[in-house]
């Protein structure tokens, strides 16, 4: 903080040097902000418009329970149904037990199928195989188990729910 003559002249000089520059910057930033406001005002509705189906699917995915008229499903057979927006499967095993899984392969998202004759869940895309009782991967590329749902039989209804 020295009060030398050069310092008192400094701000004046600096003002001449930098004022035009900062004004240019001010206009640039101002126009930039102005443009950003318009881009936002135009972009936001367009984004929401295009994203609507995804939002709807997200809403559907929020459901936690599906009630199916499936108590009469033959043992050893499968019922494909929608759990929210995703395909799911309900298997009635030969021993009378029930199992329900998210039917989307954990590898690359193909829909899997229950093969009655081989008693296994198979993904035709890359040959992944899952255990039809636990949903654990048995062979092939799947990295994780299929998501398992809770099954409860109530009269004629089979209620599939997620924890």
């Amino acid at each position: 903080m020295s009060d030398s003559p050069t310092d008192t002249l400094g701000p004046l000089d600096a003002g001449l040097e930098y004022d035009p520059l900062s004004r240019r910057k001010f206009v640039k930033v101002g126009f930039g902000l102005f443009g950003a406001c318009y881009a936002g005002a135009l972009g936001y509705p367009i984004y929401r418009y295009l994203n609507d189906p995804a939002e709807e699917a997200a809403l559907m995915a929020a459901i936690t329970e599906v009630s199916l008229d499936a108590a009469s499903l033959d043992p050893g057979s499968v019922l494909m149904f929608r759990f929210g927006a995703r395909p799911a499967m309900l298997i009635h095993h030969l021993d009378g037990s029930w199992a329900s899984f998210d039917a989307v392969c954990t590898h690359l998202g193909c829909t899997v199928q229950y093969e009655t004759d081989k008693n296994r869940i198979h993904c035709a895309c890359h040959g992944g195989v899952y255990d039809p009782v636990s949903g654990h991967p048995v062979s092939g590329p799947p990295p994780r188990s299929l998501r398992k749902y809770n099954v409860e039989v109530k009269d004629a209804q089979v209620i599939v729910s997620r924890a």
Binding site: L16, E17, P20, Y38, P45, I46, Y49, L50, D52
Partner: protein, 368 residues
């Protein structure tokens, strides 16, 4: 001091991105051409913006149209898909409203552009092709409007299209065949929607864009025409501004105003969707076409009253064809500034046409 002021005027050094693009795309050469291009400045300069405003609304049409295409389904599902866009999809009402409002504003801008060109005598040599390509664009724009009007397939759309297509159908001999081909059957049905859809989103854009390019190329080639009052002045008394950045910046400002007007109209007055079209229901009271078809609509109505039956319709159409023809050959009649009598006649024709348009439009609406 001199050092710092000269620095203030100097533009900042080009950025690396600019240099990269410039070396490969020759951007500075384009800027150099743009810098030499000048736009005349005089009391009537305001009218120079209207071609650009029309272009702006056309761009909005292209963008909002593609967005509508994401959810619209032609054919039997047409009404239901538009109902979904209007009431279910987030901001769908706004996109649709913007498309409809911008269509109307585009026609307004095109009309202002056309009449200002007419009265400034900008159709004179060497700009005849500008006038003709502009008329082709106007015809295409109106066909865009007519075909787009059916696509929601609500009550108004259905009857407006029915009435509109009955007009060419009344042409002797070829009329009925043409009508059947355009409609895809003897009546407006889902085949008609499918055809109009193909017309609206594929055929018309494919025709419109090249003609528009040609039109813009001519504007670039010949520059802006000056009105006769300006032409009469000696070169030294005329003034002009550089196209870039001066006129360009003003053009952009106009576009911004146009965007704001559109945004206000589209959001404050959302475009309506009527009840679903029902071929068995009677035509609703006060059915009428879009305002830019009000003149032919009213002319046909009036002629139909004066000369009942087919005669009226045919006379109305003949009159219209004749008027259109005169409008198109004006550049061949009023060719240059040498013939003052012809110039005056052309101006009078312009006034008559403008007055006809205004009178018949008002008459049409008041007779509903």
């Amino acid at each position: 001091m001199p050092k710092s002021s000269s620095r203030a005027l100097e533009s900042p050094p080009p950025s690396k991105v600019w240099t990269f693009l410039d070396e490969r795309l020759g951007l500075s050469e384009i800027l150099e051409i743009a810098r030499h291009k000048r736009v005349p400045q005089h009391t009537q300069s305001f009218w120079y913006y209207w071609g650009g405003i029309s272009l702006f609304f056309f761009l909005i049409q292209a963008i909002s149209g593609v967005l509508l295409l994401v959810y619209y389904r032609p054919g039997v599902d047409a009404f239901d898909s538009v109902r979904r866009i209007t009431y279910d999809i987030d901001f769908g009402w706004l996109i649709r409203s913007a498309h409809s409002w911008s269509a109307n504003l585009m026609i307004v801008a095109v009309f202002v552009h056309m009449f200002s060109v007419f009265f400034m005598k900008a159709y004179r040599a060497p700009r005849e092709f500008g006038w003709w390509s502009g008329l082709v664009l106007l015809g295409l724009a109106m066909t865009f409007g007519f075909s787009g009007y059916l696509l929601p397939m609500d009550e108004l759309a259905y009857f407006a299209t029915k009435v509109g297509l009955d007009i060419p159908t009344s042409i002797p001999v070829i009329g009925p065949i043409m009508g059947d081909l355009i409609r895809g059957g003897p009546d407006v049905n889902e085949n008609t929607i499918q055809r109009f859809f193909a017309l609206h989103v594929v055929i018309l854009p494919a025709l419109f864009v090249p003609v528009l390019m040609f039109h813009l190329f001519l504007v670039q080639k010949h520059g802006n025409a000056v009105p006769p009052s300006e032409e009469a002045k000696p070169e030294s008394e005329r003034s002009s501004i550089p196209f870039f950045p001066n006129f360009f910046a003003k053009d952009l400002a106009m576009w911004l105003i146009a965007l704001n007007v559109l945004a206000l109209l589209a959001s404050l007055y959302p475009w309506d969707l009527g009840p679903q079209a029902d071929p068995l229901a009677p035509a609703p009271q006060g059915i009428h076409p879009e305002w830019y078809f009000m003149v032919p609509f009213q002319v046909l109505k009036v002629f139909g009253n004066w000369f009942p039956g087919l005669t009226g319709e045919i006379m109305g159409m003949a009159l219209f064809t004749l008027g259109g023809l005169i409008w198109a050959v004006i550049p061949l009649y009023d060719m240059n500034n040498k013939n003052a009598a012809r110039a005056r006649t052309a101006t009078w024709i312009g006034f008559v046409v403008l007055a006809t348009v205004i009178v018949f439009t008002i008459w049409g609406y008041s007779a509903l």
